[in-house]
Every structure is written in structure tokens, then in C-alpha cells.
């Protein structure tokens, strides 16, 4: 149908905005229908519980980060743990290595055993157990734990 350009334009833009609105309404109805079904069938996630957990987490992190609280946490090695053990004797106890029979300090057993078993300072083979490979794990190298000691490498 022939018509002046302006009329064409306005009817075109009317048509496209109408099309857009219908499309949008249809999409909204899609979402509403899906949500309605989930709510009626009891499939919707318990949002309140999730929010509670998040809130507890935020509060917890704030509390832990608060410098006035850190004095209460027991970092001290000069205090006793819940069993009344103190840290003084940690790792110094001597026992017999089950492979070679030599008396060894508990805290130095791992390096001792490594030598004892002939592992020593050989380069470690790249192979891993298949389950570890499946999980695509990467190990973290470390130097020392607070209670352990390092040997010269």
C-alpha cells in the first residue's frame, strides 16, 4: 500500500514497538509460568535459609577480623591446649624407627624415613595415581610447618 514516507515510518515504528511489546509480554509470561510451577510444586529453593547462612558468614568474618577479638583466640604456644598439654615437648619424643630400628625424634621422622627408605633427594617421578590424575590435582610444595623442621636441601 503506498503512503507518504512519514506515515510509513510511524506505522513501521508502531509495528516494531508493538511486536517488541508482544515479544516481551510473552517472555514475561514464560518466566511467570515457570516460577508459578516451581512454587506450586514446592521446588523453589529455600531463599531464607541461604540468606541466613550468608549473613552468619559475613558476621563471622567481621568478628574474626576485628582486632579487639584477636586477643581471645588462642594462638599462644605458651598456653595449654584443651587437654592440658603444652607445646614444649612437641616432636622431641624419641622412638624406634620401624624400618631400621634407630632411635628417632618424632618431629624428624619423615626426613629420616625418606633416607631410610632410600628415597633421598632423587627427583620425583611425574606419574601419579590415576584417581589423582582424574581430579587434576596439583600439589602444593611447602617448606615447613610451624612444628616441623626443615633439613638442608
Amino acid at each position: 500500500m503506498s503512503a507518504p514516507n512519514e506515515d510509513n515510518l510511524s506505522s513501521h515504528s508502531q509495528l516494531s514497538s508493538q511486536f517488541f511489546e508482544n515479544f516481551l509480554d510473552s517472555m514475561i509470561a514464560d518466566v511467570a509460568s515457570e516460577c508459578h510451577r516451581m512454587a506450586k510444586l514446592g521446588l523453589d529453593r529455600n531463599l531464607e535459609e541461604g540468606e541466613d547462612e550468608l549473613r552468619s558468614s559475613v558476621l563471622a568474618r567481621a568478628q574474626v577480623a576485628d582486632p579487639s577479638n584477636s586477643g581471645k583466640t588462642n594462638n599462644g604456644k605458651d598456653v595449654h591446649d584443651i587437654f592440658g598439654n603444652d607445646n614444649s615437648a612437641a616432636g622431641n619424643e624419641i622412638f624406634k624407627c620401624m624400618k631400621c630400628g634407630k632411635p628417632t625424634a618424632v618431629g624428624k621422622f619423615a626426613p629420616h624415613l625418606e633416607n631410610c627408605m632410600g628415597k633421598g633427594r632423587k627427583s620425583r617421578p611425574k606419574t601419579r595415581s590415576s584417581t589423582a590424575l582424574q581430579n587434576q590435582n596439583r600439589y602444593s610444595k611447602g617448606e615447613e610447618c610451624p612444628d616441623g623442621t626443615t633439613e638442608d636441601s
Partner: protein
């Protein structure tokens, strides 16, 4: 939300409450009209969206006003008249229902295949209708009979699947059994520890520090979690793997031990050539740790045995706790009698205690994006490794602190975690189970199309293990760039976790539009009693750098939290645990069920 009207757990057997008009319609016509509708169900791949069309080219048009652009068109189930519907303003669908004699209230949304009651002006649900839709969807996707049978479970409620669970029957010993137990054991209170102190029974049973043997905190942290894994603890403490018996069977001599001796170092069995059995070493460790001695224990023998099993990991350096965990489960599995041992990929959890406790089954679906054909595989897994969301940078921490400050005094200003940038375990699980588009370089061969097509992959959990271990991938190693890095990003994890949304049945159900239908994994006969709820009982954390770090385990015993830092055990506030950097989280099922056992002899 009116989910109070229905049960919390949906499965194929639940029928939501129906409006009186639908009930009336059903009583008059049964489910025949729904089956008749099947011919009109048009399924659009790949998503499987269902619509109602009398012929494929039909354009729904309101019989009253001729409109075909309204967002919703409803076809009357009684007379097939199509009417448009608008919430505000005129609804020709509603006027059709009221102007006709009774029986024309129920209609179907032609674009969404949803039932609608024009009298109540609300969407309604019917199990048989949903079943018809699901059947149409599955038959349009599959050509292979085997796939159809896995997707479709039996519909008839009378034909229940074989009952796989037995009811719990409590047991207590009778007089004779009491006598036998008393004769064959010594009360714990009569045992002395090293220093002759009477045992401290007020503190949790089995709580004992583990000495660091030299960079072995990775081992201690995992051992602490295992020592307090309920089904594992129960197994060993009930003497289900008797180390003396096991070694006798394997022809090695054994040492007799009593609980009065020095039991804080795992000692040799006295036979250098003894066959290694990690389960035996575990049994010995459980005995020693649960004895009641509160001085730190040295798992030296365990280390020795493990290094013999995992020769490639036997070196004095800090290692990955998760790798150690996998390695010892592997070791316990391997020691099972060779006759009974199945290859890993067939392991269904009956082979050894390690798998009975930790092994679950993952389901992987790959769907062709052109025709909708789905290929399904099942794989056992002993844990789930989750990647963290790409880092939000410093904004995550800042955002959560801001939220805390602004929330002071305001009850409900917390929005979803996404808006605050906090990563959560449930968020990671959502991402783990969400449909993932495989790249164009990973096109999957579709059996229906017979060519490689772009596909959508989705993971779900077919069978939950008794104990779920979630491993957070915090250590990244790039072989290309030859560098490793640690991701310190905080992850929120809940103390109680509902795994239902991640089950195969739930994931499948949502893929089919959440229709009422028994999907893979649903249990028709125990519908309302299946629980996928888990409780957190141990958290292994890593602090420090990749090169120089430290593992610590938090244990939850009688709802109190204890920090196990090698030999140092302290009680901590639960906030400390919430704020910690979780690396491995251990959850146990809240409810255990007895499974019907086919065989008498259980390992």
C-alpha cells in the same frame, strides 16, 4: 509462596492440590483427554519446549476477537475453542468458561503446554497431563529404545520398583550377649594412659592431637577428618576390619597389644615383611586414638605404610592434602581381596569401606543442540572438586564488609550472594550442575544426526555418598606458563547442606520443565522419606602461600568446634570456622538407611 499446599519433595507420585474445577473435570473424563492431546504436542528441539498445535503450521487465534498477538492463548479442553487471555482487561478465555455450560473451565496454554483453570484464573497442574508431555518430549529426542527406558520410569503407581530399603529396627544386647561383651572387653575407664591419669571422658571421645613428623600437616589434617567420619569410625570401632585377623589371613605374625601399654606411637606389627594393609593401619590408629589417652599421637607407622603404597609421593616435603586423601582411599580399596575387587570404573560402593563411605555416582549428559538427542554416562567419584568463580578481586571482601555495616539494625537488606560478590559452596555446586556449552572445537558426535554437532553438557549427582567431600580447587598449576598459584578467595560454606537440587532427578526434572514425573533417581516408594540433607562435620583449611603453607582441621563434635593444629587441640567459636578458608569440606548424611543386602558376607 504457597508451597505449603504441597509436599516439599516432588517426585513422580506427588499430585499437587487441584482446584475443584480440575477435580471435577478429572472425575468426569479421567486422563483420556490428555492422551488425546499427545497428537497435538509439538516438541521443539533442542530444549524440548512443548506447545499444542492441531497441525504444525497452526497459528493460535482467539475465536472471539481474532487476536493472535496476545501473550497467552488457551484452548478449551472440552470444545477446543481457542481464546486469548489478558490479566488486566478482557479475558476471552474466562468469558468462554462462564458463558458455556459447566465443564469448559479447564483449558491448556497452547504455547507452554500448561493447564489453566479459567474459572479460578490460575495455572493448575496434573500428573497425567505432565506425563503425557514428558513422554512426547522423550520420544521426540530419542531413537534408541535403551535411552527411552532410562529416561522414562514406570508410570503406574501400583508397579513400584523393587523395595531397596528396610526399616530401622533398634537392637540392644540380651543377657547372654551382655555377658559375652563384658567378658571379652575391658571398660575404657579402667585403662590408664601414659602418665597414669584417669581418662578424661568429659571431652569428646576420640579427640587427640597428631604429632607433626616433619611437614606432615597435610596428612594430619586429613587423618583428623577421617578419624571423625561417622561411618568410617563406626566401621573400625565395631571391629569390622580386625587387623589381627587380616594379618593372620595373610600369613604374618601379629603382636598382641593391650590398652595399658604405651600407645602413642604407631608401631610395627613385629614382622618386617608383613603385607601392607592401609586398612589395618587405619584400624590400629582408630584403636589408639579412641583409647582415651590425650597425649599427642604420632602416625609414624601410617606414614611408613602409605609411603610404601604411594611410592611416587614418598618424599619429605609438604604435599597436597587432597592428593593424600585420594591416595589412601585408593590404598584401602586396593587391599581388598583380589577376587572381589572390581576395576575402579565399576565400583558401586560395595567393594571396600572407603568406597562404601565416600563413593557416589555422577551422571554426565551431553545433548546435541540441533536435535536434542542426549548421551548419558555414569561415573563413580569419591569426592567432588569444585572450581571457584573467577576472582572478583578485592571488591568481594569490600562488598561483604559494606553489606555488614549497612545491615546493622536492618533485618532484610541482604540480597543474593551474587550482588555482594561472595562465593558460596552452593554457588559452586550450581555452576557444577549447570548446562555448559561445549566449545565449537569440542563438537560431540550425535548418534541421531550422525555428525558432530555443538553440544550442551550437564553434570548431576545420580547417587549421593554417605559422606560428601568437597574439594575446592585452590591450587592452580599451569604447565604452559610453568607457574603455580594459590587462590585465596573466600568461600562461604553452610553447616547444613541440602543436596536435592543437584541430584540427577532434580536436574533432569528441570530440564523437562519441572513436570511431575519420576525421573532417573526418584524413588517412588519412599517418596517423602528420602533425604538429601547433609551436616558439616570437618573442614580442612589451608593458610599461607602455595610454597609455605599450613593445614589445619576443624572438627564438629556434639555441635562444638575444635581446631586440630597438628598436636595442638583447642576449642573454637563456630565463627572462626565460618570465616576460615575452606579447602576440603566433609559433610555426612543426616539420615542413614539400611539397604537390603543380597549377600551375607559383607567386608
Amino acid at each position: 509462596m504457597s508451597s505449603a499446599e504441597t509436599n516439599n519433595r516432588i517426585n513422580g507420585q506427588i499430585a499437587p492440590s487441584q482446584c475443584p474445577h480440575l477435580i471435577d473435570y478429572r472425575s468426569r473424563h479421567g486422563s483420556k483427554p490428555f492422551r488425546a492431546l499427545q497428537d497435538c504436542l509439538r516438541i521443539k528441539p533442542p530444549g524440548g519446549r512443548a506447545s499444542i498445535r492441531r497441525d504444525p503450521a497452526e497459528v493460535p487465534r482467539c475465536a472471539t476477537c481474532g487476536d493472535c498477538s496476545a501473550p497467552r492463548h488457551y484452548a478449551c479442553l472440552a470444545c477446543a475453542v481457542v481464546s486469548c487471555h489478558a490479566e488486566s482487561g478482557s479475558s476471552h478465555a474466562a468469558s468462554h468458561a462462564s458463558s458455556m455450560p459447566p465443564g469448559h473451565e479447564i483449558a491448556v496454554d497452547v504455547d507452554r503446554a500448561e493447564l489453566f483453570c479459567c474459572a479460578c484464573c490460575d495455572q493448575v497442574y496434573d500428573r497425567d497431563f505432565d506425563a503425557a508431555v514428558v513422554l512426547a518430549q522423550t520420544s521426540s529426542f530419542t531413537t534408541l529404545a535403551s535411552d527411552l527406558s532410562t529416561a522414562v520410569s514406570d508410570l503406574k503407581p501400583e508397579n513400584l520398583r523393587k523395595r531397596r530399603r528396610v526399616d530401622y529396627r533398634p537392637w540392644s544386647p540380651d543377657m547372654r550377649e551382655r555377658f559375652l561383651i563384658g567378658n571379652g572387653s575391658i571398660p575404657l575407664s579402667a585403662c590408664n594412659n601414659n602418665s597414669g591419669k584417669s581418662l578424661d571422658m568429659d571431652l569428646p571421645w576420640g579427640l587427640r592431637g597428631l604429632n607433626n613428623l616433619g611437614n606432615t600437616c597435610f596428612m594430619n589434617s586429613v587423618l583428623q577428618a577421617l578419624l571423625h567420619t561417622p561411618p568410617l569410625r563406626n566401621y573400625f570401632l565395631s571391629d569390622r576390619h580386625n587387623r589381627f585377623h587380616c594379618q593372620q589371613k595373610n600369613g604374618s605374625s601379629n603382636h598382641n597389644t593391650n590398652c595399658g601399654g604405651k600407645r602413642n606411637v604407631g608401631e610395627s606389627n613385629g614382622n618386617m615383611g608383613a603385607r601392607i594393609c592401609l586398612a589395618c593401619d587405619m584400624d590400629a590408629m582408630f584403636s589408639d586414638v579412641y583409647l582415651g589417652d590425650r597425649t599427642p599421637y604420632s602416625p609414624a607407622k601410617f606414614l611408613y605404610s602409605w609411603w610404601q603404597h604411594a611410592a611416587n609421593l614418598a618424599s619429605y616435603e609438604q604435599q597436597d592434602a587432597h592428593e593424600f586423601f585420594i591416595s589412601i582411599l585408593d590404598g584401602i580399596h586396593e587391599k581388598v581381596d583380589k577376587n572381589r575387587r572390581k576395576p575402579h570404573n565399576q565400583c558401586n560402593g560395595d567393594c571396600c569401606i572407603a568406597h562404601r563411605v565416600f563413593s557416589g555416582i555422577l551422571r554426565s549428559d551431553v545433548m546435541c543442540m540441533v536435535c536434542g538427542f542426549t548421551s548419558t554416562t555414569y561415573d563413580p567419584c569419591v569426592d567432588i572438586s569444585l572450581g571457584l568463580e573467577p576472582s572478583q578481586g578485592g571488591s568481594a571482601k569490600l562488598a561483604s564488609m559494606k553489606a555488614f555495616n549497612s545491615c546493622n539494625g536492618e533485618a532484610d537488606c541482604m540480597n543474593s550472594s551474587q550482588s555482594y560478590g561472595v562465593s558460596t559452596l552452593t554457588g559452586c555446586l550450581d555452576r557444577f550442575t549447570r548446562p555448559e556449552k561445549l566449545g565449537s572445537d569440542q563438537k560431540f558426535f550425535c548418534q541421531k544426526c550422525q555428525i558432530r554437532q555443538e553440544s550442551l553438557k550437564q553434570m548431576s549427582i545420580r547417587k549421593l555418598p554417605l559422606v560428601s567431600c568437597f574439594h575446592i580447587k585452590r591450587f592452580e598449576h599451569s604447565s604452559i606458563r610453568k607457574m603455580s598459584r594459590k587462590v585465596d578467595q573466600y568461600l562461604q560454606f553452610p553447616f547444613s547442606l541440602d543436596m536435592a537440587p543437584y541430584l540427577s532427578s532434580s536436574i533432569l526434572r528441570s530440564r523437562f520443565g519441572n513436570r511431575i514425573f519420576p525421573f532417573d533417581g526418584d524413588e517412588p516408594d519412599m517418596a517423602n522419606e528420602i533425604s538429601a540433607e547433609f551436616e558439616l562435620f570437618a573442614v580442612v583449611t589451608h593458610t599461607g602461600k602455595l610454597d609455605a603453607g599450613h593445614y589445619v582441621t576443624y572438627l564438629r563434635l556434639s555441635n562444638l568446634w575444635y581446631k586440630c593444629d597438628d598436636a595442638w587441640i583447642t576449642q573454637v567459636n563456630e565463627n572462626t570456622v565460618r570465616a576460615a578458608q575452606g579447602y576440603m569440606m566433609f559433610y555426612v548424611q543426616k539420615m542413614f538407611y539400611y539397604k537390603v543386602s543380597e549377600k551375607q558376607d559383607v567386608p
